[in-house]
């Protein structure tokens, strides 16, 4: 009975996760066939060759954490406002309105941002008030704006949930005992909201690390991520073994950072488990 319940999912895990990932691992030690694709071999050349794509790794490893941090910083006051200041009647509606954009065409929304950040968009409006020579599109700034725009809808809900559970009497007690609002925030509100911040950051970080559309549209080929390198290696230059090595490196980096991050979050004060989803 139990076996029958687990069998369908087990089949998917085996044929769409375990075997394909194993194939990627095997391919990463192979050679590029003359016409593209894979030729059997055992070599570390693909891994030794990774520095050839160092730009993609550096961009991803700086802009993904930065974008996550920026999104968290902007999401926090939004979540706080919704959980504490808004009347319960409107809370859920306002929260759904924050989440909704994430579930609508990502391609078109980022395409609209190309217009907004392009020479005829925000830079031309800024020129009207005397700020000239602002370039946004195809810069790291555009990618960061896009990251906040794209992932705010995922960051706000978990922070909101942890703030909503927060016992308001703790804040009153803190104030009664003479704490300033600032120290109440850093000593009570923030530590108690940390699990939510951790969950949201994890989600956003995972999605940013593997993103393709955001850097493709707003980085315009100048600010590219590992995802862009992968599309190039698999669909254009058809160097599968090297692409496989890049994939393995991406997954390893993610596992290590997520593990380190979880350790860091869990080691801080309360031992509440930061649930992933």
């Amino acid at each position: 009975m139990t076996a029958a319940l687990l069998a369908p999912a087990g089949v998917f895990f085996l044929f769409l996760l375990i075997i394909p990932l194993a194939v990627v691992l095997v391919f990463s030690f192979g050679e590029r066939a003359p016409a593209g694709g894979y030729a059997a071999a055992f070599t570390f050349d693909n891994y030794l060759n990774l520095p050839a794509r160092s730009k993609a790794f550096i961009n991803t490893l700086t802009l993904a954490p930065l974008g996550t941090l920026l999104t968290a910083i902007i999401a926090f006051p939004v979540a706080y406002f919704l959980a504490v200041k808004v009347s319960p009647r409107w809370r859920v509606t306002m929260l759904v309105l924050i989440m909704a954009p994430f579930w609508t065409s990502q391609l078109l929304r980022y395409y609209a941002w190309i217009m907004l950040l392009g020479a005829k968009g925000i830079p031309s409006w800024l020129a009207l008030i005397g700020i000239t020579d602002v370039r946004l599109i195809n810069t790291p700034w555009a990618v960061l704006i896009g990251a906040v725009y794209g992932f705010l809808p995922l960051m706000v809900p978990p922070i909101y949930v942890s703030l909503e559970k927060l016992d308001k009497r703790l804040l009153e007690a803190s104030a009664d005992l003479g704490a300033t609002p600032v120290s109440t925030f850093f000593q009570i509100t923030l530590p108690l909201a940390l699990p939510g911040v951790a969950t949201g950051s994890m989600l956003v970080f995972i999605l940013l690390m593997g993103d393709y559309i955001l850097p493709q549209y707003l980085g315009g080929g100048k600010v590219f991520f590992i995802g862009n390198a992968l599309v190039d290696l698999f669909l254009q230059s058809r160097n599968w073994p090297f692409g496989a090595a890049v994939s393995v490196a991406l997954v390893l980096i993610m596992l290590v950072t997520i593990y380190a991050y979880m350790r860091f979050v869990l080691s801080r004060g309360d031992r509440r488990r930061a649930a992933l989803v």
Partner: protein, 267 residues
């Protein structure tokens, strides 16, 4: 504070408003305003490339949602009965399917399947004159992998919050295990399953990157939108985008409504 919050909502909805507004543009160029018109809606839905891509995407998303909802629920129920290393293994597999980026899943599925096809296709072709290739079915398979994990987590959370005494009461009243499941457990799990179904549908309908790798000759709506953005957008695409956008918003509100109603019945 209020100004900041208002700004955030404007920030989130300005690009969407831009797309909706420009879908009513009468000019050929998507982003230069030339007057109000609804002609692009008519053109979009009489363009066979667009309607075909839309049908393909709907078919993929519906199949993904049904399969994920069923298999994910079964997985959650099975995990309940499981102890020891096998349970740990399944937990790892669930979290891995969620954590590995979609682009890597797409790549891994592509190279594993294509390598397999290269092995068996010569034999198949000689024997029955037919060959295996990537296509919509591979998109469904890769989407189901991710969404099984999502549904399983949702259903498991609900199972853990479920009142055990209800099941015991049902057993005490001589209900068969099947009767207990259909009349007691399933109705309690329904909101989580339905929410998972809607999430899976939306994820699958929106996904570009996995489909880009494994769809083979089939064209989904996001793939069509991507290639038409590359060629230069027409208001046609903005019109399709507006329709899709409004439908996703409705779906999301429906999901929210279902979840909230479920919470209330659980209390």
């Amino acid at each position: 504070m209020r100004i900041f919050i208002a700004f955030i909502y404007v920030f989130l909805y300005a690009p969407i408003a831009l797309i909706v507004g420009l879908s009513f543009n009468s000019g050929r160029q998507a982003f230069v305003w030339q007057g109000f018109s609804t002609e692009w809606y008519g053109k979009a839905f009489s363009n066979p490339l667009i309607t075909e891509a839309l049908m393909t995407s709907l078919m993929i998303a519906l199949s993904t949602a049904f399969l994920s909802a069923i298999f994910g629920t079964l997985l959650a129920l099975g995990l309940e009965r499981l102890k020891g290393w096998l349970r740990v293994l399944f937990d790892i597999l669930i979290y891995t399917s969620i954590m590995v980026p979609g682009i890597v899943i797409g790549i891994a599925t592509l190279i594993a399947f294509v390598s397999f096809f290269d092995l068996v296709n010569p034999v198949l072709e000689a024997a029955i004159g037919w060959r295996l290739q990537m296509g919509a079915w591979a998109v469904i398979a890769a989407h189901v992998l991710f969404n099984i994990a999502v549904v399983a987590l949702l259903v498991r959370a609900r199972l853990q919050g479920m009142d055990r005494s209800l099941v015991e009461a049902s057993e005490d009243l001589y209900a068969t295990p099947a009767g207990t499941f259909v009349q007691v457990v399933l109705p309690l799990l329904a909101p989580a399953i339905l929410a998972g179904f809607l999430l899976a549908f939306t994820f699958s309908f929106e996904d570009f990157i996995i489909a880009y790798f494994v769809a083979g000759p089939d064209v989904t709506l996001p793939i069509y939108v991507f290639s038409s953005i590359r060629r230069g957008v027409t208001p046609e695409i903005n019109a399709v985008g507006t329709v899709v956008l409004l439908s996703s918003l409705l779906l999301l509100i429906a999901a929210q409504w279902v979840l909230r109603r479920g919470d209330r019945t659980a209390d």
